[in-house]
């Protein structure tokens, strides 16, 4: 059923791209809409800065709706279905189970609050209103549609740090936020999945930054900022990019491949194999070898 919803919604989402300003072919318009609704963030439109504001807003909305849709499905329906090992989450942290509606409302609250915070923060570092709204919606949805061809390059400096923080917030398990609001912060810091996620991501950032520093002589601060922002963008399945990072090549490409496959935490709007699954697989592997 969910398959049908996404495929049909994307069809509807494609209409503006097909009929409107960018004048895309139908296949390209559908690509853009699927990319938005699945929170991928890959685009076939070049010249984003010259698009009408409404069109960029529509892209941001697709990202945002796709993100909240997948958060609902991941937290409410998937644990019920006996697939992908997601039934593991049926008991843990799901004390209000069976009460799908209040849970959905809680998730929606967290999601809206995070988005508002993100938009506000982007406004503070000097984005225009449109850019802040579209980038903010796309960041929390871990979508990655940006209203500019050069993505985050436009705001580099502070934007790198602020963007990293909010991409991380959008890719941690949302259940923990609900528990945080109820006053149980301990559960977030003791979440094995969230810890491993940050540890692995940190490891990749250090590897790439140190390599690039010695390889190309880029000073430490920008090398770390670039590596941090871009690798977070990859691992959280967001897809913003900045500066020359995609052209670093070589070692970076090989290191980046793995976080992109692993992806972020279960129970967020992010995608990929999920940290939880990789962790369990590693534990299982160790248990069988021992």
């Amino acid at each position: 059923m969910t398959v049908g919803i996404w495929a049909v919604l994307s069809l509807f989402g494609a209409l503006p791209f097909w009929l409107g300003e960018p004048n895309l072919r139908f296949s390209a318009a559908y690509f853009e809409a699927v990319s938005g609704a699945t929170t991928t963030g890959a685009t076939v439109i070049f010249g984003l800065d010259d698009l009408p504001a409404g069109m960029n807003l529509w892209r941001g909305m697709l990202n945002w709706l796709g993100g909240i849709g997948i958060a609902f499905i991941a937290m409410i329906f998937l644990p019920l279905m006996r697939v992908y090992g997601m039934q593991f989450f049926r008991t843990e942290g799901f004390d209000t189970f069976g009460k799908a509606l209040p849970r959905a409302r809680d998730i929606a609250r967290v999601y809206v609050l995070l988005t508002a915070l993100c938009i506000y923060a982007y406004g503070l570092i000097g984005m225009s209103a449109l850019d802040a709204v579209v980038n903010g919606a796309a960041t929390i949805a871990t979508g990655g549609f940006s209203p500019s061809d050069i993505s985050f390059q436009k705001y580099f400096g502070a934007g790198g740090y602020v963007g990293t923080v909010f991409m991380l917030l959008g890719s941690l398990p949302y259940v923990r936020y609900l528990q945080l609001v109820r006053g149980d912060a301990r559960l977030l810091w003791h979440d094995e999945q969230a810890c491993a996620y940050l540890r692995w991501l940190g490891g990749a950032v250090v590897l790439v930054a140190v390599w690039h520093h010695f390889h190309s002589g880029m000073p430490w601060e920008p090398a770390f900022r670039e590596a941090m922002f871009n690798l977070t963008s990859i691992m959280s399945s967001t897809g913003f990019f900045s500066d020359s990072f995609p052209a670093w090549g070589g070692f970076m490409l090989i290191v980046a491949f793995v976080p992109g496959m692993v992806g972020a935490c279960s129970g967020s709007s992010a995608a990929g194999l999920r940290v939880f699954r990789v962790q369990v697989a590693l534990v299982a592997l160790r248990a069988h070898l021992a």
Binding site: T2, V3, A7, R25, S27, A28, F31, V34, S35, T38, T39, T40, G41, A42, T43, V44, I45, F46, G66, L78, R82, V83, Y84, G85, M86, Q87, F88, E92, T142, G144, D149, I150, S151, E192, N230, S233, I234, S237, T238, G239, F241, P246, A247, L253, F257, G260, M261, G263, A271, G272, L273, R277, Q279, V280, A281, V283, A284, A287, H288, A290
Partner: protein, 108 residues
């Protein structure tokens, strides 16, 4: 059979099975889609990373074809269709779609 623990809880066998299914499905599809991708005339690095980026819903572009604009605008039509499919597969979980493709599903 060894006991698998995660966050001090036992991981049951059906959980483990589902997990391994997902893993193998993911990697299999990554490989399987890269083949038609390169047949559309896309170079190897761009093809592999295009499937990687869409299956994982990453949206990040690597490879010679993307270097000019940072977008997928230079990809041929066929490649665009494959990427669209991969994005849907990656987002909605692979099995849900694979189940539909199985003949057994329709016979029931």
């Amino acid at each position: 059979m060894a006991v698998v623990l995660y966050e001090e809880r036992r991981v049951e066998n059906d959980v483990l099975n589902g997990l391994i299914m997902f893993f193998s499905g993911y990697i299999l599809i990554l490989g399987l889609l890269t083949v038609p991708m390169s047949l559309t005339g896309v170079d190897t690095v761009s093809a592999l990373f295009a499937v990687w980026t869409s299956l994982g819903n990453v949206g990040y572009g690597f490879g010679p074809l993307l270097a000019r604009t940072g977008t997928f605008i230079d990809f041929p039509q066929g490649a665009i269709a494959i990427i669209t499919l991969a994005m849907l597969l990656g987002r909605l979980g692979l099995l849900a779609i694979m189940v539909i493709l199985l003949p057994a599903f329709w016979r029931r």
